[in-house]
């Protein structure tokens, strides 16, 4: 509350100068792309137009309220029509609107220019995480909320980037045109990073696109903007914009990591190893619905701890994890998790929270099934 007062005071001293626009946290960010700057300018232009019209209209109104008070013996005039005046106040707004429409159209056309992208990233919304695939680069990963649940409950002090931090940020190069393709696995989400002025719905079964060319390296944060269910507030977006060489190096490193992971498929895994890996996967992917202790939240999300159907039928269990269940929030993890992760999470859920089935599912088994 005190910070608010300070900011309010700060804000008020700035009113009247266009600097008020730059007071951070009160206004639309200028952003770090040419388009976000243009959009910001459009926003400020229409804002000031509204302010001017408002001052005139409310000025006349409050002047009348003050000047023509009945209590001060004002006598009402008797006029109720003036076509000239009416035409003028119809024509002026029309002209202002045309004046606004022209730059708005120009900016919109730039947003809709899909040409000559240097990098394509497929962004998939899923309840409740984002998945990024660098098309043609063999790099793909999920990006989950990293804020611990304890902070949300208030058991721990909240960090600076509370709810705006993820386990794996999207990494993008600056100065390159990056084309985003958007789609969804389940419901409609919306991918939004204010500093890029990019907000696009992700529609299941359909694909939409937008693009960005970032001018400055930095860390940019955003959130899902379309109500997508229980954890709508908990699927943030973090983008690391880095220099081009750094990006290329990062990409190469990720490709290497993926190759290493693929090597792990063929070897025999111990139960402990799989449990450890599986706990990590479960925590970031499954726990938001089925809960950390596997108790679920029925009827939408069944409990896994003590789930008889799951424990009795291993093949069915694998099938559900790999293919998902249509018409429910259970997605297909066929492509979003690799065989090692799939094997680990299946093993984990069959042995955690007292399920203790002792089943060990090997990555090689899963890989073969997916061939």
């Amino acid at each position: 509350m005190r910070t608010l007062l300070v900011r309010l005071a700060g804000g008020l001293t700035l009113v009247g100068s266009s600097q008020v626009a730059l007071a951070s946290g009160w206004n639309m960010p200028v952003g770090v792309t040419d388009l976000s700057r243009e959009i910001y300018n459009l926003h400020m232009a229409i804002f000031w137009i509204c302010v001017v019209i408002g001052v005139i209209v409310f000025g006349v109104m409050f002047y009348s309220l003050f000047r023509y008070r009945h209590s001060k013996g004002a006598k009402a005039a008797n006029f109720h029509e003036n076509t000239t005046v009416e035409i003028i106040w119809t024509a002026i707004p029309l002209l202002i609107l045309v004046g606004m429409a022209i730059p708005a159209t120009a900016t919109l056309k730039k947003i809709y220019d899909p040409s000559d992208a240097e990098l394509d990233v497929l962004v998939t919304g899923q309840q409740w995480r984002w998945r990024y695939e660098y098309l043609g680069e063999d790099v793909a990963f999920n990006s989950n909320l990293a804020t611990p649940r304890a902070q949300i409950r208030g058991d721990e002090e909240r960090g600076e980037h509370y709810l705006l931090e993820v386990d794996e940020p999207l990494v993008l190069p600056i100065n390159r045109k990056v084309r985003f393709l958007f789609t969804s696995d389940d419901v409609i989400h919306a991918w939004w990073v204010p500093d890029f002025a990019v907000k696009q719905d992700t529609v299941p079964g359909f694909i939409t696109e937008n693009w960005v060319r970032i001018n400055e390296p930095g860390i940019y944060r955003g959130q899902c903007a379309e109500l997508c269910g229980v954890d709508h507030a908990f699927m943030p977006i973090v983008v690391h914009a880095v220099e081009e060489e750094e990006f290329d190096a990062w990409l190469a490193e990720r490709q290497e990591m993926a190759a290493e992971e693929a090597m792990g498929i063929d070897r025999e895994w111990e139960l402990d190893e799989l449990m450890e890996r599986g706990e990590g996967v479960y925590g970031s992917i499954c726990a938001s619905c089925h809960q950390v202790e596997g108790e679920g939240s029925p009827p939408a999300f069944p409990a896994l701890a003590g789930n008889e159907q799951m424990l009795a039928d291993l093949e069915w269990h694998k099938d559900v994890i790999i293919n998902g269940v249509s018409g429910t929030a259970m997605p297909s993890f066929r492509t979003t998790l690799n065989p090692v992760e799939l094997a680990a999470v299946i093993t984990y859920t069959r042995n955690a929270w007292g399920n203790d089935s002792g089943d060990v599912v090997q990555p090689a088994e899963i890989a073969e099934r997916l061939e």
């Binding site: 899909p114 394509d120 018409g327």
Partner: protein, 197 residues
Amino acid sequence: MSQDDNEVRQAGVRRTVWRSVAALVGMFAFAWALVPLYDVFCRVTGINGQVDTTAQALVHDDVDESRMVTVQFITRNGSGLPWRLDVETRQVRLHPGQTSEVNFTFSNQSRSENWARAVPSVTPNTATRHVRKSSCFCFEEQLLQAGERVEMPLVFQLDRDLPPEVTTVTLVYTLYPVEGKTQKLQAGVKLDEGGEA
């Protein structure tokens, strides 16, 4: 007010009510008509990347060699279908007007037969109208036996009127289960088994 006036009023009310009801019915019908209209509108204008699913004649001998366009293919899986959809190449580069053929592989990895359907989407939507397909599996319901693997070709071209700012066209196929048919199928299998026993 005289009795006559009252009757005139009542007649007026009746007329108004009937007209209103007619308008209501009309608007209700209109709402339903919007569904197919929207479909047609989308196919004509390319909104939402809805593509024309009917096979189209390819136009030959009319290749625009002055520019190259990249066509990307993305395959995705909807939930609940034990199938895998692969494409032999992730992208091709071609001239507008040039014909290309790309093979898609559908494999059923389960131990039972299933129905599925591939739903296509194209972006950017200014390109949608300019993608011509002579053979395609879009929206078609397909049946695969347990473990069956089928290759299907997509033969297509981009027509020469493709807007110049379009340098990359992305085609996405999402595979969804056809629940009703699969269920019927499996129920049928059980019945048969029951009959034999």
